[in-house]
Amino acid sequence: MLEHMYFPHDISTFGPQVDWLFLLIFWIVVITWAAVMIAMVVFMFKYRHRPGRKAEYIEGNTRLEIVWTTVTAVIMIALAFMSRSTWAEIKEHGPPGQVFYKVAAKQFNWEITYPGPNGKFDSKALTVENEMHVPVNQVVRIDLTSKDVIHSFFVPNMRLKQDAVPGRTIHVWFEAKEPGQYAIPCAELCGFGHSGMQGTLTVESEADFQKWLKDQYANQ
């Protein structure tokens, strides 16, 4: 939706809602900015100093103060309420998960743990560094934590960002709509290796995903 504005191509289910809010704020901001700048430039030109003219003695206007305070307050509060539901869906609840992972960040890699063949995170669970494979069109749920400092799990193509905090487990979910390979950079300064810390998210069909998982179990 926003690719013509340098945004990475969106592949998540909630991405369009985020982009829509961005675009809404963008137009409010552009119109406000243009109105303020036009007024300012017109005043600056029209009321520039010319010999013999005196400024008009105006101390203010209570009605105007009330109008612009109210209008601004209404727009701002409305924006907060419009953002609320999207936020709640992405970070508070969201749909039930179909695939479950554990991700632990550490200087300077993502440790991704897949459940074992029995679907449990036991001794047969599989841990891979920086390679996250997910099936397309399935809800992925991640328990995110960190082993050392704070990192941030960022998938630009999904508009998703969540800090990974040591001592805490944070639940993250997403659903990828398109197969392909996407970057998972770390977005929070995490030390001298922060620049370059990134994983790859591979979104693939259910069959390809199961095949990859099987190969991984076999190589373990």
Binding site: F7, R48, G60, I77, A80, Y182, P185, G191
Partner: protein, 584 residues
């Protein structure tokens, strides 16, 4: 305290007696000299902070490239003549730390606060002159400690100016040992200095206003400094506490922020931003005050909605205590809390909008004089509008999820802090230079400096919004490590070149100040035909500020183009023509 008491206390100083060189220029208790000292130190620190920025931009245009001229820098800033991951982290950490704590705060609060408060409220000096001197020297000591960290083993702090724990709490995580300790110690010491200053400002403004200088006759810049001082008094102890806990974790084996010992990393963020958000307003409110003075004076019109302007600043000050969580939307804090902080953050946009509309109202039907000072004041408004509007994006929690920790944030903060605060500083220096040093600054050079800075500033920081929209993370030294950032490389190159022009243009300001100090046109008492009290004192004012009695205040500060006067200004100290109408 009435003004007569102030005269009695300071009367002895009014009689001219020579102070030694040391008492006049170094260990001065005179608020004007202390203000100048803050200005000189801050300008020196600005050159160091600016150098850090230039090094960062050099690296971002040509990552991992050797430049032989870098070898003159300390080992902590270059590695074999190249900027590497470690040194880059140190550079942006020190850039922000220096610019925030040793440039913007000392100039706005230390320099303008000291110089202007007594002169504009009609006092002979600060309430506690010795404390004032101590405040400067304690702050200077903090600066020396911070500078020393460039030469310790492991280099200076490299955990960002926000120094998020646990990275900042364990030397192993960053490879920085004493650099981070000195960073904490320096800021604790600086906090002590700022507290002394803020107590002084508050006391002076409450107790030492001249006869007739009611609260609602104070110039808006004094209102802004008063509110800023209160914010400083309440916010800095929180930072000091957090820094002390961090230092205990680093040196004393405690675990306040270390989860392994039962500590909580998010505690640091809550403490830091509980200080940090009022801090943001500490750095913009005085800029708003300065811009209000410039725009009213050079539009030759009363400020539009004077009381609304004062109340807007008071509401910003109150709201600034309940918005800190918007820095932590993605931190793992309960998302429901994020919703609450989003609402308060949206609401704090309202008083900022009120101020902008009132500045526009001041220009309306004015008689606008385009001096170099006014150009900077107008630029403050235009840039603050962009910085304020871009803040709405990150106030919305879902949008913030995408742009958080990207260059969009870098663009936003620089539009507010450089486009806002620093343009106000440039305007303020030009406007009050004649009062500070007795000579006018060169207008032509001032305008050249303004235009180059204005264009280069926008070329540097506006494209950063686009980088942020492309997902470009901040605080990475080599964007070429990421495939998805490769298309943005030409923008990075353009930004770097603009930044070099922006940096170089600041030498024009320095040259103008030095040239004007020695050769500038001699200033009269009131060269701008302004209304506020400082313009009734000689340029520069002597010890005790007014050679005779302290002026009496008869009216508000913005009576420009008043129908009561044939001139287009009516100073606060000018008695009304009908003596019976005199203020009680």
């Amino acid at each position: 305290m009435s003004s007569t008491a102030a005269v009695a206390i300071h009367g002895a100083h009014g009689e001219h007696h020579e102070l030694s060189f040391w008492r006049t220029y170094i260990f001065s208790e005179d608020h004007k000299m202390i203000g100048r000292q803050f200005l000189f130190v801050a300008l020196f620190m600005m050159s160091i902070g600016g150098l850090m920025a230039m090094l960062m931009r050099l690296d971002l245009a040509w990552p991992d490239t050797q430049f032989s001229f870098l070898s003159i820098l300390p080992q902590s800033l270059q590695n074999d003549s190249a900027i590497t991951a470690n040194t880059y982290n140190a550079e942006f950490t020190m850039h922000a730390t220096i610019m925030i704590f040793f440039v913007v705060m000392p100039i706005l609060v230390g320099c303008f606060g000291n110089f202007l408060i007594p002169l504009m409220i009609g006092a002979r000096d600060m309430a506690f002159p010795k404390l004032n001197m101590l405040s400067f020297w304690v702050s200077a000591a903090a600066g020396v400690i911070m500078m020393a960290s460039f030469w310790v083993l492991g280099g200076p702090a490299a955990a960002g100016w926000t120094s998020y724990a646990p990275m900042s709490a364990v030397a192993l995580y960053t490879g920085v040992d004493w650099g981070q300790n000195l960073w904490c110690i320096s800021l604790i010491v600086l906090g002590v200095g700022s507290l002394m200053g803020s107590i002084n400002y508050i006391t002076t403004i409450i107790n030492m206003r001249a006869k007739g200088m009611y609260f609602f006759r104070m110039p808006l810049v004094i209102w802004s400094l008063f509110i800023t001082a209160i914010l400083l008094l309440l916010a800095l102890p929180v930072l000091t506490t957090a820094l002390a806990l961090l230092l205990f974790d680093r040196l004393g084996g405690t675990h306040f922020f270390l989860p392994a010992g039962g500590g909580e990393p998010l505690l640091w963020q809550h403490l830091f931003w509980f200080f940090g958000h009022p801090e943001v307003y500490i750095m913009i409110l005085p800029g708003m005050g300065i811009a209000s003075e410039l725009i009213a004076t050079f539009s030759r019109k009363p400020i539009f909605g004077y009381r609304a302007m004062a109340y807007a600043m008071i509401s910003i000050a109150f709201l600034s205590w309940i918005v800190w969580g918007h820095h932590m939307f993605q931190s793992g804090m309960d998302p429901a809390l994020g919703t609450g902080f989003m609402l308060t953050t949206m609401v704090i946009g309202v008083p900022s909008a009120i101020k902008t509309f009132n500045w526009l109202g001041t220009l309306y039907k004015g008689d606008i004089h385009y001096t170099a000072a006014m150009l900077n004041g107008l630029s403050f408004v235009a840039m603050f509008v962009i910085g304020g509007l871009s803040g709405i994006f990150m106030a919305s929690t879902p949008v913030d999820m995408y742009i958080h920790d990207t260059y969009f944030i870098v663009a936003h903060i620089h539009y507010v802090l450089f486009g806002g605060s620093l343009f106000a500083v440039f305007g303020g220096i030009t406007y009050w230079f004649p009062k500070m040093f007795g000579r006018m600054m060169n207008e032509k050079l001032g305008k050249i400096h303004f235009w180059i800075t204005f264009v280069a500033f926008n070329c540097t920081f506006f494209p950063m919004h686009i980088l942020g929209m492309g997902g470009h993370m901040r605080r990475i030294y080599n964007p070429q490590q990421y495939d998805f950032l490769k298309p943005l490389e030409p923008i990075n190159m353009f930004i770097s070149i603009s930044a070099f022009v922006l940096g170089a243009a600041q030498f024009l300001l320095l040259a103008n100040m030095i040239w004007s100090y020695f050769k500038g046109e001699k200033a009269t008492e009131n060269p701008w035909h302004a209304n506020t009290l400082e313009w009734s004192a000689p340029s520069p004012p002597g010890h005790g500020n007014w050679p005779g009695a302290i002026p009496v205040v008869y009216r508000g500060p913005y009576e420009y183009s008043s129908p009561e006067s044939a001139e287009d200004y009516l100073p606060q100290w000018q008695p009304p023509e009908h003596a019976t109408a005199a203020a009680d």
